[in-house]
């Protein structure tokens, strides 16, 4: 079980243990002392946008990632929060593809874990947030970078990130039908989870009410 081989050996009949690579040294190097058990909750206001990068009590590693982004894109990036293991930034829709490409190529986040669209009727916009993670870089394996952008809820159109992160394909398609955000350059903005004869507004919009509630 402790043996690890570098080449795929599918024809290794009989001896299963030899094709199993077991990983002893995957200790979370990125996870710093005292932050491992649970993320210490810090209040954050999703609507109040503040630039906090000048603060000194920020976690060191996360601040490094943020500083790189700010250095590259300057004022077009708003930092919503920097917490241990979690960063959230907001960019305008016109820059999102460029920022995403930088995040993939330079910062090292290689896949999207989740894409969520949230409807805010009070401010009249829809926020789309991409939770990006990394499989390839060990020091980023515990990090989630939340890349968010906002669009007008009456004309919800955003550029798709499918050219940068292939893994957003079904998530974006789900956001299209559930919240009604049209993704430009996405190959299929169409029905996915809802019934084929669905003829109502997107159900995760706030004005859609469940009957009887």
């Amino acid at each position: 079980m402790s043996k690890s081989n570098d080449s795929p050996s599918g024809n290794n009949k009989g001896d299963l243990a030899s094709i199993v690579a077991s990983n002893n040294d995957l200790s979370p190097a990125s996870v710093k002392q005292g932050e491992t058990g649970s993320i210490s909750p810090k209040p954050s206001n999703s609507n109040a946008v503040q630039v906090k990068s000048e603060k000194t009590d920020l976690p060191q590693f996360e601040r490094g990632i943020v500083d790189g982004l700010v250095l590259k894109f300057g004022d077009s990036i708003k930092i919503i929060y920097v917490k241990p293991l979690r960063i959230k930034i907001e960019v305008p829709p016109k820059d999102i593809v460029e920022v995403a490409r930088y995040i993939r190529d330079e910062a090292g986040f290689d896949h999207a874990e989740s894409v969520s669209a949230t409807d805010y009727p009070k401010t009249g916009d829809i926020e789309v947030i991409y939770h990006l993670g990394s499989y390839t870089r060990e020091n980023l394996s515990s990090q989630i970078l939340a890349l968010s952008t906002r669009t007008d809820r009456d004309n919800a159109r955003l550029p798709s990130l499918i050219q940068v992160f292939k893994s957003v394909e079904y998530h974006e398609r789900e956001s299209f039908e559930m919240v009604g955000v049209y993704f430009d350059n996405h190959p299929r903005n169409d029905r996915f989870l809802l019934p084929e004869d669905w003829a109502d507004i997107p159900p995760l919009r706030k004005e859609f009410r469940i009957k009887g509630r």
């Binding site: 795929p8 874990e113 989740s114 394996s141 989870l193 159900p203 859609f208």
Partner: protein, 386 residues
């Protein structure tokens, strides 16, 4: 354009159409599911050219319940029982990350003993899920013994969980702030006995099923998902680890007391259908070690749940927390606007993420490999649809 040229181009156009029709005639579209016994509540269409699949279009949603919308109408505690419906066999894990997220939003500290207990419940639940998956995987690869054995052994762990939680499959046991109730009398000994039994059985599964030449022939070297593709497609769980990426949330971002537990991330580098079927078995074996350590290190007494307000609420904010479930990373993105009800809940489940690998793997495979490829993805339709 002269008349002659026009006639020629018209002829060419007709000729091309005939060729195209002939090409389309070669292709046959097959609909798999949702009534088909081999797919679960899930439908996908495949186009076959002879024996080979040339196109695949998944069509999920037959068991979509609108869990995310339902969450917005109930408070944080009321959400627990319906949130575990998407995957009732793994209900402790799907409520685990929800609990972690709510604890972060509402700011609750979990007692140490409760952290151990819910980790044990989740590990046992993962075993239940994997045994169930293994049973289905076995029967669809034509191995009916592999259906009977895990189904029977699963009952033993279900009995254990029933003693612990009071319900066979839908436990609603992990709650924000801990667990619902303390361990029953004699749980530790009983749990150790079942885990030892299961470990012995895993050896037998390996002998009768994984070393079976028929299974090996149907799965080895079939439907290769390379490491690069796995990362690009963002797959998770056993599918990812079978492609040579040693990534497990319990190791990458340890939650509760997992940083005190000594275990290895099980992964394989062969990237084929067999690896995707074998990694869950390795995970179960490792999980047995984890359960033993958890039982050993657990404090003998103490609180098992933090005191909660009747209608807990926190300041406005948002969080994204994840755990390792039977099907990979299971994350909750919860936005709170300061009221006792969540403003938005997004459940990011492993099944939905692994679905992207299905067309990728099926296109180019033989039709006969479809069941082994589909079930090797550890796909649970109800969870993917939410």
């Amino acid at each position: 354009m002269s008349d002659q040229e026009e006639r020629i181009s018209e002829t060419t156009r007709l000729g091309l159409e005939i060729v195209k029709e002939a090409e389309e005639d070669r292709l046959m579209t097959l609909s798999v599911g949702p009534q088909h016994p081999g797919s679960g509540h899930f439908r996908f269409t495949v186009k076959v050219d002879g024996d080979y699949i040339v196109d695949c279009d998944p069509d999920p949603g037959y068991v979509h319940r609108g869990e995310e919308k339902m969450c917005e109408y109930r408070n944080f505690i009321q959400n627990i029982p319906h949130l575990e419906r998407p995957v009732i066999h793994d209900s402790s894990n799907i409520t685990y990350s929800y609990s972690l997220a709510v604890e972060e939003l509402v700011k609750i500290d979990v007692p140490r003993r409760a952290q151990f207990i819910r980790a044990i419940a989740s590990e046992l639940n993962r075993q239940v899920y994997t045994l169930y998956w293994l049973a289905i995987y076995g029967i669809f690869l034509g191995h009916s013994t592999m259906f009977m054995w895990p189904t029977g052994d699963r009952e033993l762990i279900i009995d254990l969980l029933e003693a612990l939680t009071g319900a066979r499959v839908t436990h609603a046991y992990n709650i924000p702030g801990g667990v619902r109730n303390d361990l029953p009398y004699g749980f530790k000994d009983r749990c150790l006995r079942q885990v030892s039994y299961l470990e012995g059985r895993l050896k037998e599964y390996e002998d009768i099923f994984y070393n079976n030449p028929l299974l090996r022939q149907r799965t080895e070297g079939v439907a290769i998902l390379t490491k690069e593709d796995a990362i690009k497609l963002g797959v998770t769980g056993s599918v990812l680890r079978a492609s040579g990426v040693p990534y497990d949330i319990r190791k990458a971002e340890p939650y509760d007391i997992y940083d005190e537990i000594d275990f290895n991330v099980q992964y394989m580098k062969t990237c084929d259908s067999f690896a995707r079927a074998y990694v869950p078995l390795l995970d179960m074996r490792e999980s047995c070690h984890i359960i033993r350590q958890l039982l050993d290190k657990m404090p003998e007494s103490g609180e098992v749940r933090a005191k909660l307000q009747p209608n807990p609420k926190g300041p406005p904010g948002e969080t994204y927390r994840r755990v390792e479930s039977g099907r990979g990373a299971l994350g909750y993105y919860i936005v709170s606007d300061g009221t006792p009800r969540p403003y938005r809940v997004k459940i990011s489940v492993g099944s939905f993420r692994n679905l992207l690998a299905l067309p990728h793997l099926l296109v180019g495979s033989k039709l006969g490999d479809m069941p082994s490829v589909y079930w090797s993805l550890n796909y649970w339709p109800v969870e993917a649809d939410r």
